[in-house]
Structure formats: C-alpha cells, structure tokens
C-alpha cells in the first residue's frame, strides 16, 4: 500500500495541481506548504513540458512561464528533496513521457522514490503503453497513476483492475459545458471502477467552485482541481501562495 492511500483516509480527498517553477521554485514551495496547511490531501506537482498536448491554454501558459524561468528536471528534484524535510502530504509528479524518458526512466523513477514522490501521472501514457515505465515504477515503489475517460465499460474495467495509487477520472470528449449533465456519466464510470478495484478514484473536471468540487466528490473519492489553482499563479505571481491556501481551505471545507 503506497502513501497515496493515506490521502483518501481523511474524508473526500482534495487534490490541487501546482506547476513547479511557476513563476519560480520559491513560490512553488510556499504554495505547497500553504496547500498542506489548509487541508490538501494530495498535491500534484507538474514538471513543465514545452508542448503539453493534453492541457488547455491556462496550464500551457504556466508550463511556458516555468520553463522561461529556468526550471528543469534536476532543479525540481533538488527542490522536492528540500521540501520533503517538512512537507508530509502525499505528492505525485505530473509530466509528459518524454521528460521521464529523456532523463532515463530508471534514473528518473528511482530519484522520485528517493526524494519522496509517491506517484507518477503521465497523461500520454495510456494503458497500452504502461510497460514503458511500469517495471521501474514497481521496482522503486512509485505508483503509476491511470486516467479513465468515458470509453466502453470493458475498457474502464480493464484499466481499473490494473490501477494503482488512485484513478484519475476525466469527462472526456464531446462534453457540453454544463456539469449537471455530466455527473451521471461520471458516476456510472466511478461505479464500474468500484466493482473492479479498491483503488480510490478522483474527478478532474474544470472545477472552479466549492459546489462543483462537492458534486464530483459525492460520486467519487475526491476532487482534482488544476486550472483554477494555476490561474491564481497567473493572477498573483509570487503572491499566489496565500491565495492558494485560501482556495484549498474553501474547497476542503465544502467536501
């Protein structure tokens, strides 16, 4: 059982996403500490990538801000090593396959384990390509997080059965803006997941308000919030951490 399971022991989990180095690593460190202090159950740390093909414009911009600020994988490892001296909340890295691959998969994943990163979420590694990194993840005890979108019931079950850490549910394509219409669809996915695994699942769906977070947490084990957190960095820059703390607090209270 990985440390990620702890994130789901305190009621519904709240999972914010923060891009490392946006606009600098000092700000990221302060924001992580604020998020932990205000009740974040798990923190998703983004390692920026030049071409984040699975992101919308808000997080694309954050990636570019971070890269132009000069962060790289080595600096982020050093930063997390330092952060882990006092930060206890489970943390995962979210990045793209090439960042891991180019660093050397084993070197990257063993370093994750060494510095206290509990899981790895790579949106461009679907079920079919997991073998690229799975052996190293198992060798060093880092969970390789799976994403599930509305596909077929068979596919959802297949991914759920092999999942570890937690499962990332996304609404997928052809979704009109209104959340109320999507909730039943997400619930049916969460139900299939629960029939096939005890691994917890959380929903990422353009959540910006505590009410929305509660709505998705009610049908799953938690809420993942990405763009709304990143927007605070876009808006406040180095002043973002205190706002991140307030945001996390309001979200966690609603769950």
């Amino acid at each position: 059982m990985s440390k990620i399971a702890d994130a789901f022991k305190n009621g519904k989990a709240f999972i914010p996403f923060i891009t490392c180095g946006d606009p600098n690593l000092e700000t990221t460190a302060a924001a992580v500490r604020e998020a932990e202090k205000n009740g974040a159950d798990l923190i998703e740390l983004g390692i920026p990538f030049s071409d984040p093909t699975a992101e919308g414009p808000v997080i694309q911009e954050a990636n570019l801000r971070a890269l132009s600020g000069g962060v790289n994988t080595t600096k982020i490892f050093d930063f997390v090593r330092e952060l882990r001296k006092d930060v206890k909340v489970p943390m995962i890295f979210m990045t793209y396959a090439n960042v891991v691959f180019s660093y050397g998969a084993e070197k990257f994943i063993s370093t994750c384990a060494e510095i206290g990163i509990d899981g790895l979420f790579l949106p461009d590694i679907p079920y079919e390509e997991k073998d690229e990194f799975l052996a190293d993840c198992h060798k060093y005890g880092v969970d390789l997080i799976s994403m599930i979108a509305p596909t077929s019931a068979e596919r959802v079950a297949m991914i759920a059965k092999a999942a570890e850490g937690f499962i990332y549910i996304v609404p997928g394509p052809d979704v009109a803006g209104d959340m109320s219409g999507v909730i039943p669809k997400l619930k049916s996915i969460a139900d299939i997941i629960r029939e096939n695994t005890s691994v917890p699942c959380a929903v990422d769906f353009k959540i910006s308000t505590p009410e929305q977070a509660k709505a998705v947490a009610d049908i799953s084990d938690g809420a993942i919030v990405r763009a709304s957190v990143v927007r605070l960095f876009e808006q406040y820059g180095t002043g973002a951490p205190v706002h991140v703390g307030e945001f996390v607090k309001s979200m966690k209270e609603a769950l």
Partner: protein
C-alpha cells in the same frame, strides 16, 4: 512492417491521452475494414484518377541529366496532382474513410499549408465541415495558402502557442480532437502521430512508389538505383520508398531540412541531430534538449519545419535500409532556382531539398545509373518567400 500494436522496430506506438483512445480504436477498426473493402477502394481509385489526376507523370529530366553529366534523372511529378502536392493522396483516402465512419467534420494541422489546402479541398468535395490549425508564423509565411483554404470553405485557426509553427498546430489539432470526437475526424497529414496514423498515411501515399515502379519498368525495363525524397514528418518519402523497401539494390535517400546547418540550433534535421524520444503519440527521433523539452526547430521550408520524424523512417534508419542526409536552406534555394531554369519546373521549397541532394549525387554516379527524385509539390506558394530570401522586396 507493422506489428499489431503499431510498432516499427522500437518506434511508433500509441502515446496519447486516454481521452483519445476511443477515437483511435474506432479509426483502427474502421481502417482495417475499409482497406480491404472493394467498394471503398473503387471509390478511392475513382477520386485519385478522375479528381486528383493520378497517375502522376514520371518525367525524364534530360536537361538536368545532361547538365550534371552523371546518373539519369527522373522526376516523380507529385506537383502535378490537383492542389499541387502529394498531400491529396492521403487526404482523399482519409476523408473518404471519415465519411464512411459517419463523420461530418474534418480537422487538420498544416505547416506549409499544402495539407490544409488538400483537406479543405476534400471537405468541399465531400460536403464536410473543415477546420485547419496552422502556426501563426506559418500563416504569415504562407498567406496565399491561408486564403486558398478559406476560399474552399475551411476555417483556419492561427495557433499562437509555443513556436507558432507545425508542431504547435499538431498539438492544437490533437487537443481539439480530444474535445470533439463524435462528429470529427482528425485528418493527420504525415506518417506520424499515434498508431494507426503512420500506417494509414503510408498506405495512402504508397501509390507514389507503386507508380514509380510500374513507370520505371515500362520506361527502362528495370528498377532505379536510388530514390530521393524530402523528409519532414516523411509522408512523400515513405510513399516514394514503400514499394522499394524489399528491393535491396535500390538506395532510399531521405533529405532532411538542415536550415542554417546541422551544427547550428537553427535546423530541423531530426535524424541528423535528434535523439530518441516520445512525443505527439509516437516513439521516434526528436530534436530536443537534455531534459526532453522539444526544440524550436527552423527551416526555410514551413513543410519540413517539424522536430520529429515518422516512426517508420526512424526504423528504416536504424536498420540501415534508408539513408538520411541534411540539406541547408541555401542548397535548397539554389536547387529551387536550378530546376526552374533547367527544366521549367518550379518545385516546392520542400521538394527542393531532394533536388539539392540529387545535384550532389548525380554527377558522382555513372551514366547508366538512374535516380528518381520525388517532386512532392509545386513551388508557386514559395515564390514570394524565396524572392525575399534573395533580397527582393516582394509581398503576396
């Protein structure tokens, strides 16, 4: 060459978000059905022959041959296809496939604009909606093609992110597809991206080498000694090579864009300067930095200005079946002018990279040797840019 999960040696694969897997699986299933469907193949052949103007000529470049004094040079005239490039071969295939799948909307990325124009053309013909993503930088370099696409009824969306060139247009098209699959087919323009695209696009472009082989046997009674084509993602090159892969005596030469030189950062020569990586759905060679960040590539040619190369090319390189050379902007511009003056054929600046290598190669070969150079597109779209490169003050 393809094994069931879309690998070419170690290259290829399906490195895409889960949100795209439904669409990719649906496409693979449909393609596997229709590629063997007689009715589909009849309709496609009709479009290729009676709309796109196939077969394209294999032209003996006698003046060029005489001038260079070496190998006999033939030009495969893909520039004579409707819309002026090889791109139409793939687009008609994919658009017809999409239509059979019940899709009503095509999206595409484009670099030079040739693939965008071809997609807009097929969409007009087959009464489909069309949206083309094009790097903002490229919309400026290729303003005429932007107008052509709009004229054909397509919407052109300038992509401002990243380097605002082809790779960013691909990323944006992938994002759009991940958001809207039910009515939309992503008509990918090169032999790249996740499986099954590299195989589908290759199969639709393989008509080029199929014709070269037939035409060469009719004209010369034998196979050529070398086939040359330019390589960005690599669709006209794989199309030109495919039916010769088993003919070990035919040299296959891919000509990459070196930009200002492979020893500079202003290059797009992926096989010469890139390293193994995972991007845009595939494992292949990519121009990237030591942390795996994709490099901002450069070439005078918007169509070759891409930081990766198709996985089958990466494999042909690994096993030594094809060779890949780098051609600079200067060499390509010289070849652009040379072919125009010598044969009265204005090649696309992309194709000029292959012509440039032929200029180096042919004189060193005996007169009884034969090389085929694929002229992947026509150069009208490049005239203003080349004139500016030569210091003339011309704007479209």
């Amino acid at each position: 060459m393809t094994n069931p999960n879309g690998r070419f040696g170690i290259h290829g694969g399906q490195y895409i978000p889960e949100t795209l897997m439904n669409a990719i699986n649906e496409l693979e299933e449909a393609y596997n059905f229709y590629k063997n469907d007689p009715e589909f193949n009849r309709e496609l052949a009709d479009l290729l022959n009676n709309y796109a103007g196939r077969p394209s000529l294999l032209y003996y470049a006698e003046r060029m041959t005489e001038d260079l004094g070496g190998a006999k040079i033939y030009l495969k005239r893909e520039d004579l296809n409707h819309t002026g490039a090889h791109k139409i071969n793939n687009v008609l295939g994919q658009a017809l496939l999409a239509k059979k799948m019940g899709k009503t909307r095509l999206i595409a990325e484009t670099g030079a604009g040739q693939h965008g124009v071809a997609t807009a053309t097929a969409a007009a013909l087959l009464k489909m909606e069309c949206v083309v993503f094009m790097g903002e930088e490229d919309t400026i370099r290729q303003a005429l093609n932007v107008y052509r696409m709009r004229l054909l009824g397509a919407e052109v969306i300038p992509v401002k992110t990243g380097t605002a060139t082809l790779k960013d247009a691909v990323s944006e098209a992938m994002r759009e597809w991940a958001d809207r699959i039910s009515d939309t087919h992503y008509c990918l323009g090169s032999v790249m991206g996740p499986h099954p695209f590299p195989t589908i696009v290759r199969d639709f472009q393989a008509v080029i080498s199929k014709e070269i082989k037939q035409q060469m046997l009719e004209r010369e009674g034998r196979l050529p000694d070398a086939v040359l084509a330019c390589v960005g993602g690599g669709s006209n090159a794989i199309g030109s090579f495919y039916h010769f892969i088993g003919d070990k005596d035919v040299r296959l030469v891919g000509c990459e864009a070196a930009g200002r030189g492979i020893d500079t950062f202003e290059t797009a020569a992926t096989i010469s300067t890139g390293k193994l990586g995972i991007f845009h759905g595939m494992k292949s060679y990519f121009c990237q930095d030591e942390y795996g960040q994709i490099a901002p590539v450069y070439s005078i040619s918007a169509g070759l200005d891409y930081p990766g190369v198709g996985p089958e090319h990466a494999h042909l390189y690994d096993i030594g079946r094809a060779e890949y050379v780098a051609v600079t902007d200067d060499e390509a511009v010289n070849a652009f002018e040379y072919l125009s003056r010598t044969e009265g054929i204005i090649p696309a600046i992309e194709s000029s990279h292959a012509v440039a290598h032929a200029l180096k190669m042919a004189p060193k070969m005996d007169k009884d040797k034969i090389i085929v150079v694929t002229i992947s597109g026509r150069g009208d779209k490049d005239c203003a840019a080349i004139a500016r490169y030569r210091g003339e003050d011309i704007y479209e």
